[in-house]
């Protein structure tokens, strides 16, 4: 089930499911071409729809994954050793006067299954490692 993360010049990102790379390139290049011409992002809009004036965005990269990258951590279970390391580090980081907030500790553990990074810009927003890229504008 190939999924693709599309990273736009604006910093916006989306995930799309295509049958294959050819299908992915057809869609993303069609959108990118519209952006280069200053055309709208959505063609079939009804009268008065505010989306009618939204312009297409240039695309800077298209990353490929074997599955939806949001599936990372979906089971909300982690390896015991990973949980152990996280708790030990959190106890050191969060300890104040020999006490630790259980909510802050729990938040550190919960974040292990968060599929997102906290990196912005033109980097991937997912922790799952992509299989590769099928389109990348040179930096």
């Amino acid at each position: 089930m190939p999924h693709y993360e599309i990273i736009y010049e604006t910093g916006a990102k989306s995930v799309a499911f295509y049958e294959d790379d050819e299908d992915a390139l057809k869609a993303t290049q069609a959108h990118h071409l519209r952006a280069t011409k200053g055309e709208p992002a959505l063609l079939n809009t009804e009268g008065g729809d505010p989306a009618a004036s939204r312009a297409a965005e240039r695309i800077v990269s298209v990353l490929k994954y074997d599955e939806h990258p949001g599936n990372y951590g979906e089971t909300q279970a982690v390896d015991v050793s990973v949980a152990d390391d996280t708790v030990m580090k959190a106890l050191k980081d969060l300890e104040v006067g020999g006490m630790v907030s259980v909510h802050e500790l729990a938040a550190r553990l919960r974040d292990l299954t968060n599929p997102h990074t906290d990196v912005g810009g033109h980097a991937s927003m997912f922790k799952m490692k992509e299989k590769g890229d099928i389109w990348k504008v040179p930096a």
Partner: protein, 163 residues
């Protein structure tokens, strides 16, 4: 624009927040889907389904994805990725409450053959990436029916009020 909070969202409040349940728990992250179903035909106990009947919620792209996939929203506030903003409070007794708005989410770019079914009438805050599956939590109507063509993208900025 009609909006609706579904049963699972209410259960998270009663069971997880109030009762510290270990079985009724929030997902690792939220996902946002597009539905052909208008909020006016949904109910608090609606479920995702490919079968269009009663109060079922039908997702676009179930027969032919056409570039459609659910988008993710992190369970965090004001981080670099797509997540929730700082919540605000409206003290109005009727209709007020605490509101949070997520970063704008992008769908597409759609390809050809286009998604089937096509024509989004609502967005649904849900969980998981499988089409027509998972728990619905909130829904809101789109500004207009959106029928997607090759190269289109769609933007949704979900705002949630707990009142």
């Amino acid at each position: 624009m009609a909006v609706l909070a579904f049963q699972q969202m209410s259960k998270l409040v009663t069971d997880y927040v109030m009762g510290n349940s270990g079985t009724v728990t929030p997902p690792a992250s939220w996902t946002l889907g597009l539905s052909t179903t208008a909020v006016s035909t949904m109910a608090r106990n609606s479920v995702w389904s490919a079968t269009i009947t009663g109060t079922n919620i039908n997702e676009i792209g179930s027969t032919t994805a056409g570039g459609y996939a659910r988008q993710t929203i992190a369970k965090s506030i004001n981080q670099a990725g797509i997540d929730w903003g700082t919540s605000t409070f409206d003290n109005t007794t009727v209709g007020g409450g605490q509101t949070t708005t997520a970063d704008q989410v992008t769908f597409g770019a759609f390809t050809s053959p286009v998604p089937s079914p096509n024509g989004a009438n609502s967005w649904v805050l849900t969980d998981g990436s499988t089409i027509n599956a998972g728990n619905p939590y909130f829904a809101g109507d789109t500004a207009a029916t959106r029928t997607f063509a090759l190269g289109d993208t769609e933007k949704v900025t979900p705002a949630i009020k707990a009142g």
